[in-house]
Amino acid sequence: MYKHRGLKAIAILTLLFIFVPLILIMITAFNEADIISLKFTGVSLKWFTKVFKSRSLTSALKMSFSLSLKATILGIFIGILASIALVKIPGKLSNALLSMFLSSSLIPGIVMGFVLFRFLVVKLAIPMNTSLMCGHLLIILPYSIRLISAGLKECDVSIEEAARTLGCKPFKAFVIVVLPDLKGAILSAFMMGFINSFNNIPVSMYLKGPGMNTLPYAMMNYIEYNYDPTASALSVMLMLVTVAFMVIIDLLTGKKSDGRK
């Protein structure tokens, strides 16, 4: 084709810039040396066991996982209901509502965390747990509503109508006829919602409450006071989870589209 050597050079430079730091982390995580170094003194998994020995990291991992899982499941439910409504409501109003729901993704995270803290925690004295859940729902909702309402718009309305005409109750018709078609959209919404909630720092930082820690924030604290490959090992573990997520979603949604053909 019409490739230019300079173009290829920049592209390769970009790809190296994106991937080399992540590869370096992987190397240092498996290095036995006590400092973060590329000088390899031996392969070791000791930094990975050290992650599990650190109570602050493991308890933060548990907290982050349960928070993001609960918030994402709740966010998906709210997203499905909202999407059904958005599809049925007349066009202009529906578009206005949609862009309002997506607005929380445009507000800087730190501003969102500050406002939620000031209003929910300080002013209304809502418990930290509930406030934190609200904050994470606000992180997840834009993904869940955007992806699921887009998926719902592509569904064939006539099949659901046929089911209803044949005497199926609206709820049953939705679960049996529409929901299977939405599987791909719901899965992507789940992945994007969970990852963004799990990775969030600014909102959690304000709302996590004393003595509690989400994993990214605990890791940030850990890095501040310790400089050893434990953080590299934790990074590798988090990257593996991301890869697992991507592969699972790819397999599940990929199969579905193949089956249709």
Binding site: Y2, M100, I145
Partner: protein
């Protein structure tokens, strides 16, 4: 089902988005306009001004670097076979889904006093250099954070240009550089504008990366906001910074999306 039932489905997200976020946001920001002189005082303060200008400057540099690297890369990707392109696109998605702390930490291990670069310098008996906690470190970290965003946003734009257009230009004798400047660049301009503003807005409002790589020495607006609330509990000052950040991110984004629509319309008329 009646129309009103559908509105019931929207109650929970309404309460969350409007009740917990948008109204409190307006409620926090509006009172700051009652004392406009405080905004003037904010900018008269040397400390604040340094942080504000640093945020603008570093975010602009980040945006320019992301464009310089991301635009050619996404063009190059669009010229690849579909299989290779899809593989590379999903590989580029990977860092986007990786935690910002992990990505910041990766650069700490490279740039810090005992980091990989300084270890290499020591090994060849050169003096070590201060890389971490500098403006450059923040820029590197921010480019690292947003370059995948740039490439991923531009990729569909580049694919839309279509190989026929590019082939036609080549067949008619245009050199690759000319094709890039006269065909690809104008056709991807509005997409580039949107992606650029996205990167700018993202890097000016980022918290994690500048905090990890800039430390307390080189603060940005987000860390200043956190400092005002966390250490000083100064809600009014924090609200003012929040407003300035909103103008710099959301405001700039809205402004440019209007501009890019106008540019698009003009192009359509010319055709």
């Amino acid at each position: 089902m009646k129309k009103t039932t559908y509105f019931l489905f929207l109650i929970v997200p309404m309460i969350l988005v409007v009740g917990a976020l948008l109204l409190p946001l307006v409620g926090s920001l509006l009172p700051t306009f009652l004392q406009p002189s405080e905004y003037v005082r904010f900018f008269q303060d040397e400390y604040n001004r340094t942080i504000f200008y640093r945020s603008i400057r570093l975010s602009l540099i980040t945006t320019v670097l992301c464009i310089l690297l991301g635009l050619p890369t996404s063009y190059w990707l669009s010229l690849l076979s579909e299989k290779k392109r899809r593989l590379l696109n999903s590989l580029i998605l990977f860092p986007l889904l990786t935690n910002a702390v992990v990505r910041g930490f990766a650069w700490i291990t490279i740039l810090s006093k005992n980091g990989i670069i300084n270890q290499a310098l020591k090994a060849i008996h050169l003096p070590t250099i201060q890389l971490l906690y500098t403006d450059a470190a923040i820029v590197i970290g921010s480019v690292y954070l947003f370059l995948p965003v740039m490439v991923n946003t531009l990729s569909p734009v580049m694919e839309n240009i279509g190989s026929e257009t590019i082939e036609a230009a080549h067949t008619l004798g245009a050199k690759p550089v000319v094709v890039f400047l006269k065909v690809v660049l104008p056709l991807s301009f509005s997409g580039l504008l949107i992606a650029g503003v996205m990167v700018f807005a993202g890097s000016i409002s980022a918290y994690t990366t500048p905090t990890l790589l800039g430390g307390n020495k080189k603060m940005m607006l987000a860390s200043l906001l956190y400092q005002q609330t966390n250490a000083l509990s100064n809600w009014d000052a924090a609200s003012r910074i929040a407003f300035i950040m909103l103008i710099c991110s959301l405001g700039v984004q809205k402004l440019f999306s209007i501009i890019s629509k106008k540019v698009d319309r003009r192009e359509a008329q010319n055709v």
